[in-house]
Subunit: 262 residues, 2 copies
């Protein structure tokens, strides 16, 4: 299995603290040693750092942890391979362009023998995760050749999640740089930080931060993770079947789908 | 204007030396201070480093110059903006997926008012360069919905290059990880290094390399650049209208198109 990390914020935010926690689980405090990736939206641009080395020992991961990237939307992933070799083409998150935006996707879980028909978007690597992403985008493009608001996509997205969930484990994060969509089939936790901000301490490294010192009273920052990243804070675990649409740090739509096939 | 860098080799090759030369031109020995990017193919995967900072002073560029990435195919670019703000979405090289491969593209030049009809691939940023790349891919996909060998694409590619060249300056590099296609409308130079390897010294930095010490007798490495990167080596400048298809370090097809509109 793998672990996911997501962030949605209403101001460009330094996610270094959370990324540092996640990276420890790639070889130090966790077994996810088969590569990692973090994508940071910068406006409509998307900056992707990836490596096939365990994140706890990766030179690129060291750079990411030193580099003060601020973003309103981040998707990260550390991998413990079950399908597909350890190679760059199999490393999450995956990126495709749709409607003039970069869409980004990371998956935690496994679907056995997921082989949808070949269509427009095709997997480059050998993971079920990338095939799932391509299938989602192909469904969207087929139904909506021209851009629509994400709210209009929700029935399609939740229907697809229900189908995927019925075939295996499907926790995912997806974004187009404007919104972040999360789906929990088995495991995903959230925390929203806003004023009054307090201190937090990483579970996986001896690192603390006083969010009060690095924020303004208007900042709202939501972090999503497969397993809570901090101690002394209250994370909310999503019940299986929960989907959420996030924008600028807050949940703007949320629902629950049944775990049985639709 | 901008500067291009390309490499095609028959073994995974460290392009650090050439990248270091190019990076100096982004703010130290040259005026291309509006960002830079280098894409390295690793198998079917593609590793992209980009920054909006001048390459001579960029923290990410420092990492790339320290990091021992070996690749058989590299496309790099330093930018001096003429169309589009300095932002990540306007930074070359650009990437799209076609037929289950990542295609990568960088452009040096400018086409005035290049606004092809909206189709499948759409620009995320505001550059004519990204619109050109999308137009190329849209033409390919329209004519060939299913994969064909690159040799079958050559008439389409050279026809498109002739049209673009008639509308402005269009020097470009494009690859799908297997081959590298180059087109020179005004300025592009090549050098192919093979046994017996000798020494070379960068024009733009006090850095020398003895290629004999870091290669085997079977290695073949071609480097393409807008302006020759080394002294004491013989680079060949392409005449305007020259296109070349490179594979594993050698030119496998080459031709010349007229500079007048077709």
């Amino acid at each position: 299995m793998c672990e996911l990390l997501g962030m949605s914020a209403n101001v460009p935010t330094d996610i270094l603290f959370s990324v540092t926690g996640l990276m420890q689980r790639g070889g130090r405090t966790g077994p996810h040693t088969d590569g990692w990736g973090v994508a940071f939206y910068e406006g409509k641009g998307l900056r992707l750092f990836q490596d096939t080395q365990p994140s706890a020992h990766s030179e690129v991961a060291e750079l990411v942890q030193r580099y003060q990237i601020k973003s309103e939307l981040v998707i990260g992933h550390i991998r413990q391979a079950n399908v597909g070799d350890v190679c760059l083409a199999n490393t999450h998150p995956f990126i495709r362009e749709l409607w003039g935006h970069y869409w980004c996707f990371a998956h935690n879980g496994q679907l056995k023998e997921f082989n949808p028909p070949q269509s427009f978007y095709r997997a480059v690597g050998a993971t079920d995760s990338e095939r799932l992403f391509c299938d989602l985008l192909n469904r969207i493009r087929q139904q909506f050749p021209e851009p629509v608001e994400v709210e209009q996509l929700l029935p399609l997205l939740t229907q697809a999640c229900a189908e995927y969930q019925a075939q295996g484990v499907f926790n995912c994060l997806m974004s187009n740089g404007d919104w972040l969509f999360s789906f929990c089939s088995t495991k995903l936790a959230e925390i929203t930080r806003r004023a009054p901000f307090g201190p937090a301490h990483l579970k996986d490294a001896d690192l603390s931060v006083d969010f009060h010192a690095v924020t303004t009273p208007h900042d709202i920052v939501t972090v999503l993770a497969t397993e809570p990243l901090t101690e002394e804070e209250t994370w909310t675990r999503h019940p299986p079947g929960t989907w959420v649409l996030w924008r600028q740090g807050v949940s703007v739509a949320r629902g629950q789908i049944s775990s049985s096939p639709p």
